[in-house]
């Protein structure tokens, strides 16, 4: 019986997943604090509490995310890119291109059918094309960011946003609100503006089907729809797990590989 854990310390949320005999038995997500070690410890505590598993039962643990190397109770730190790729393909075996849009960055990952990382690309410039862009726009509209997707699918005349800059786009949103444009149309415009940036990044890497999305923005149906249209491809949705947990799932899978290797070397 192998129990392993994976942690993903992101800029906005910290996630943890426990796998027991290759099945997810628990997952937790909390708001990240300023110190990654503390966030990781907190989410670990929450997860152990919910699952009733003891820390000592965990054979191997892998961490990912920006604070990964500072987590003291992991066996290895692995990049989010590898973890998101791993996690996504585990849930959708046909996945070859993974688009991860997190709070602060955006990554596009290509894997081969063996799950090997072939190529990746990340945004380097600014917040547009990341979850931060949606957060800021949702705040201007005084709605929860989770509403952006739901509202946008009801849009009949999506706004075209002139600006791609997160800062200037706020002024655009206010302008449209004052012009009494519908909330749905503004949301659709915001999602499309986001999708435009992501599409440009994605097209730079020669995508291959199947494509799926991970990270919090994958839950925004409006962005997913707009992105699919821009890429001219269907984006397969991850249904078996929360897309925000994919990084932690991937980390746990790496931990599992380590555990199996340990077991076989001990057996040998």
């Amino acid at each position: 019986m192998s129990i392993v854990a994976g942690f993903d310390v992101g800029s906005l949320t910290t996630k943890a997943v426990i796998l027991k005999n290759k099945k997810i038995v628990g997952a937790a997500m909390i708001r990240s604090g300023p110190k990654p070690v503390e966030s990781a410890a907190k989410v670990m505590e929450k997860l152990l509490d919910e699952t009733g598993i003891h820390q000592a039962d965990i054979i191997k643990a892998v961490g990912t995310g920006y604070g990964r190397e500072k987590i003291t109770f992991i066996d290895k730190a692995v990049s989010e890119i590898s973890c998101h790729g791993k996690g996504a393909q585990w849930l959708i075996p046909s996945a070859r291109t993974i688009i991860d849009i997190g709070g602060q960055d955006c990554k596009v990952i290509r894997l081969d059918k063996q799950g090997k990382l072939v190529k990746f690309i990340t945004n380097d410039k600014c917040a547009s094309g990341t979850g931060r862009f949606l957060d800021v726009m949702a705040k201007v509209m005084n709605i929860d960011v989770s509403e952006l997707g739901k509202l946008s699918v009801k849009s009949t005349e999506p706004i075209t946003f002139a600006s791609m800059c997160t800062v200037w786009a706020q002024a655009d949103v206010i302008k449209h609100i004052n012009s009494r444009k519908s909330v749905e149309d503004i949301c659709a415009g915001i999602n499309t503006a986001m999708a435009n940036r992501v599409a440009m990044l994605t097209n730079a890497i020669k995508i291959e089907n199947d494509i799926c999305m991970t990270g919090g923005v994958a839950k925004n149906a409006g962005v997913v729809k707009a992105l699919g249209k821009l890429l001219g491809c269907r984006i397969k949705q991850i249904k078996k797990a929360d897309p925000q947990l994919i990084g932690a799932i991937g980390a746990a899978l790496f931990a599992q590989e380590m555990a199996l290797k340990k077991v076989s070397s001990e057996a040998a």
Partner: protein, 467 residues
């Protein structure tokens, strides 16, 4: 790039648009009104240009010619050379089987005529590996050509090395991406020395060899002479317009600037450009004779000299805003030719060009000298405060044209000017010229929307008491 965009050939769209536009000369005002009603984006350019009267139809006709040359090039056995706006195309028109296409004109047109501007093409450049921070003026049209949505490009020839890295870099990228021959004329940082003149002349001969090798065609000297003689006529006409611009009020309609320089960059040396200029001179003379401003409402409240380029990010919005505010457009860095008889020349030896059509050598030297004085190539090749460089040129032109203030509008991709525009602005202010620096992108409204740019302009003119 959005899949549906791959259905459209950019050059054919332009050719089609201008083919229809040039026929509007025989339309009634009511018919034109209907056309504009159904072309809300294209109308942004068509409307203001049509309002200029006779020159507008010649302008559309010229552009139709230009684009139909491009779309029919392959069929007609001609090669297409990709070049930049500040490379005088006369040389290309002296070669029988060569047709030029100028990226910046294509970008400006796409930005002005399409709903989403040229952003899709710009983003496509990034998708294929070009730097996103590169100048938008090339990226708009370049994306289309590199995606195969324009004419097939056979070679690249331009002048920009030494003056604008970003520009030359874009063309170099295009050449490497398409794996086609490339030639760049190099420009040292000085303008008037004999040494640099000799360098220009030798470099230009290198260009001639390159063109001959890559087109398989020899120069037709008589044709070259004909093109340069035509260019002389064009210089005379442009000089007259520049001279009249010194009047108060300025009798030159603001939009003439973009019409003149856009046509010059693509059709210098061709008869239709001469015709366009002639028609414009008639209008300006008439205005001048009657002491009339080139502004539609006739009231000149301010004379603004643009130290760099115009803003094209929302059609002709900037020009319309100038009209609304009563601001006379006193030209920009793109407007001037620096031929030796131009009214704004300072008489300093080596700063202007002269066209000598005596023999092939003198003609090639003349072309080399013309190119060395093209916009940007002349003005921003050396330190901004060196003789005959940006500061001196700006001050001298602002004074000659009695400018009340100066305006900088460019693109974030312009490393050259962004590296010293603060210095220039400081010195212009010290010399009594209120100067506004616009942080938008003249070709990409996503950087700063026209509304934001306009708000800042309003602030500047209001706070500085300029209107």
């Amino acid at each position: 790039m959005r899949p549906e965009l791959k259905e459209y050939n950019l050059d054919k769209l332009f050719a089609g648009t201008f083919m229809v536009a040039r026929n509007l000369g025989s339309s009634t005002p009511g018919e034109i009104k209907n056309v504009l009603k159904y072309t809300p984006y294209v109308g942004g350019l068509l409307g203001p240009v049509l309002a200029t009267g006779k020159p507008s139809i010649t302008f559309f006709d010229l552009f139709y010619d230009y684009y139909s040359n491009i779309i029919n090039a392959e069929e007609n056995g001609k090669k297409v050379v990709m070049t930049t706006f500040c490379f005088d195309p006369s040389i290309f028109y002296a070669i029988d089987n060569l047709v030029p296409v100028t990226l910046e004109i294509g970008t400006a047109l796409t930005t002005m005529l399409w709903k989403r501007g040229s952003s899709d093409f710009m983003d496509y450049c990034t998708e294929i590996g070009f730097s996103e921070t590169g100048c938008s003026s090339q990226r708009g049209a370049m994306g289309a050509y590199l995606a195969g949505l324009g004419a097939k490009i056979d070679l690249v020839a331009l002048n920009m090395g030494g003056v604008c890295d970003t520009n030359a870099n874009a063309y170099n990228f295009a050449a490497q991406y398409l794996d086609i021959p490339y030639f760049g004329l190099d420009y040292p940082s000085e303008l008037t020395t004999e040494e640099v003149r000799e360098y220009h002349h030798k470099d230009y001969r290198g260009l001639i060899n390159f063109l001959q090798e890559n087109t398989g065609c020899k120069f037709d000297i008589n044709r070259l002479r004909e093109v340069l003689e035509e260019k002389k006529k064009q210089d005379v006409l442009m000089n007259e317009i520049e001279e009249m611009q010194r009047l108060v009020p300025n009798p030159v309609p603001g939009i003439y600037h973009i019409m003149i320089y856009a046509a010059r960059y693509i059709y210098s040396g061709k008869k239709k450009f001469t015709k366009l200029l002639g028609e414009m001179v008639d209008v300006v003379r008439e205005n001048a004779k009657n002491g009339r401003s080139g502004l539609k409402n006739g009231v000149e409240k301010n004379r603004t000299f643009l130290v760099y380029i115009d803003n094209y990010a929302l059609g002709t919005a900037m020009f319309q805003w100038f009209e609304k505010k009563g601001i006379s457009h006193m030209g920009n860095i793109l407007s001037r030719t620096f031929n030796q008889d131009a009214p704004y020349t300072t008489g300093v030896p080596g700063t202007t060009y002269n066209i000598d059509t005596t023999n092939l050598d003198t003609m090639i030297d003349s072309l080399a000298d013309i190119n060395a004085r093209m916009p940007m190539t002349r003005t921003i090749r050396g330190p901004y405060d060196a003789p005959n460089m940006w500061l001196e040129d700006s001050l001298s032109l602002a004074k000659q044209y009695s400018a009340d203030c100066c305006l900088y509008s460019g693109t974030p991709g312009c490393r050259n000017t962004w590296s010293n525009v603060k210095l220039l602005s400081r010195d212009l202010e010290a010399m009594g010229y209120p100067t506004h620096i616009s942080y938008g992108d003249s070709f990409d409204p996503r950087v700063e929307t026209w509304e934001s740019t306009e708000t800042r302009l309003e602030e500047f003119y209001q706070i500085r008491g300029l209107l």
